[in-house]
């Protein structure tokens, strides 16, 4: 339908929805995860909707604003969608930082949920 392949449509609208939720009230993000979802936040892993929401809500900033500078979507062989986002964020009064995030979306019972989420700030960590 339309000339946009479905993974682009789904990916784009998911991304928009996600960051809107995140910036306004990130405790509502539970709706897009399922109990089998896994979040990798700066290398740390959290499994399950509850754990993920807890981690996101407990992040130490009040205000957060995301600005997406690039996004790309690809279909995966098992009919999931992988969405990749690069952008900038500003938390409270901290300086702007770049970030990179990856979502793996899957269609369960006619709704697209996020089964995997990976977030990294665009800092180069030298171990």
């Amino acid at each position: 339908m339309g000339d946009k392949p479905i993974w682009e449509q789904i990916g784009s609208s998911f991304i928009q929805h996600y960051y809107q939720l995140f910036d306004n009230d990130r405790s509502q993000l539970g709706a897009i995860y399922i109990d089998a979802s896994c979040l990798t936040w700066e290398g740390q892993q959290f499994q399950g909707k509850a754990a993920i929401v807890e981690k996101l809500s407990s992040l130490p900033f009040q205000k957060i604003q995301h600005n997406i500078t690039a996004q790309d979507h690809q279909p995966t062989p098992d009919s999931c969608i992988i969405s990749m986002v690069v952008g900038q964020l500003k938390a409270d009064e901290d300086p702007i930082m770049g970030f990179h995030q990856m979502f793996l979306l899957k269609n369960i019972n006619d709704a697209w949920v996020c089964t995997n989420d990976m977030f990294r700030l665009a800092l180069h960590n030298f171990g």
């Binding site: 946009k4 896994c38 790309d72 990179h100 995997n116 990976m118 990294r120 665009a122 180069h124």
Partner: protein
Amino acid sequence: MKGQETARTKMCSMVKKFQKSRNEDCRDGISVLQGRKPGGSSSRCNFGRRSVPYERSGRGLLPSHFQEDGGNWMRDVREDPRVRYTPYARELNERRGKWRGSRQVLITMCRDPQSRERKMEEDTQDRRVESWFKITIPFGRKYDKAWLMNLIQSHCSVFFSPVDFHYINNRALFFVQDARIASKIKHVRNKIYDEEKRKISIFVTPSVVPYSVKNKFTPEQMEQLKFIMKKRYDGSQQALNLRKLRFDPDLMGHQIEMILNRGNCMVATLQIIESNFPELLSLNLGNNRLYQLDGLANIVEKAPQVKILNLSKNELKSICELDKVKGLKLEELWLQGNPFCSKFPDQSAYVSAIRNCFPKLLRLDGQELSPPIFINVDAPGLITPSQESYKGSETMKNLVLQFLKEYYLIYDYGDRQGLLNAYHNEACFSLAIPLNPEDLDSSNLREYFKYSRNMKKLKDPNLRRQLLKYTKRDIVDSLSMLPKTQHDCNNFVVDMWLQRKTMLCFSVNGVFKEIQGTSQGGVHAFTRTFIATPGSSSCLYIVNDQLFVRDARPDEIQSAFSVPMATPCSSSMPTLSQEHQRMVQAFSLQSGMKPEWSQKCLEDNGWNYTRAGQIFTMLQTQDKIPAEAFKQMP
């Protein structure tokens, strides 16, 4: 009589208006016609005259235009269009006198649509005994049988069981035995819609006994067939060999003609399989001159365990025939010797097409197929966070790190064409840079911009489609066009964020230097995400590859490449520059030759990697390279 011509055309437009509402309450008279083309159904005008065996009802065929949908009935509007498809033409014809006169047609249409239906029902009830009815769905070919049957059944208050469902040209047909059922089905006619919201029309006509019922095997024949099939059954392999069944001497001796193309033969065969060999694993139907697989449409119910199917040396002309047995979870399939096999441009197209039908297939025509990337997505329990399984599968982690090491070795120092083996056949690749077109000129990233598929900025759908590289050939070609790089492999940050048995997702963050072109010396930061599937002998095949490149920040540039890259190369020539050392490593990896030999080859070709590769390949095909040049395989 001649005056009717002009009356008819006038009629066409007026009556068209009523056509849509003829099954609804059309007492309001005028409604706008939608979507019906007058006379647009010339291809269907033989409808009534076809399939003669079934239409020998002895009641006289209705003229074809009675059985048409769409505009054709306007050819003779004297007849009431609402009863045009009733089977009881004789009765109607007697009453024809009443309907003469076009105006009366309109009036009767408008006024009392209900009474006609009642009349038809009465007629129907008179003819209960021994009557078969053919139900036809024009354009039914495009509908899936199960879906269509369910749809009709759900609107029908009585349960019915369709007999001899099959497709002829564009139509779908089946038979029912009871007149009451036939009439109920007729009622469903304009109440059902397909997925594109188009009405599905149904025609009900009387018919002779359907072929399969008429030609059903007698119990004696069934016994005989069962006996013969038992002889051909190998219990140890759970395999049934029905090759060349027609020429089985026992069958011929009993004058049973097992022509498997015929519905009744296949039905009988499947019936015997269902009752006697329910655990059947392997079925051989080769050499049976099969040109269609309609008879196997319900094989999933009759022989659900079948994993090996041999259809070789038949007459299948189209791969679409395989759709009919798609429900089987086949692991092994034999198709060679069928006409459609030679219609593919090459072997891999053929294999891909078959695998599309049967994703879990392991062997085709006796050949093992490369690992399927079909992942069982119905088992959410398989999704384990990599943290937990990290401890349990260090092997995965090491596999990934090793993979990345080799990948970037070839990517940086070798010919990127060599990466073909790292990708799966149906992989996807795309790259994006977060850059505005306006900032292009001042940026170091401009070489990448033309490949950048940033969905946020790129709105042209064609370009978007083009920039998503699909198939390993395309991917490797486009990778080869990207500028040459040198990655800071020691400072990669690797995130493994999904580990399943058959799928692995990991992201690599790091920096790289451009060593060529206008932005030479520029350092960029990148994040590359891979989705890979493990293949045989612990190698990974990339299925999705996505690369983000951005400008590195000053602090990143400063700390980049600060740790000199360790060179595990076993070369004993310390005077080689680091770059050359890496090239030797890459060449050694790709060619399989020991480092000393790789180095010699590169040196002899002026450290031109591509040329060295070509020379190597040439010498190898000419068998001019001694065996000792190659590394021992572990």
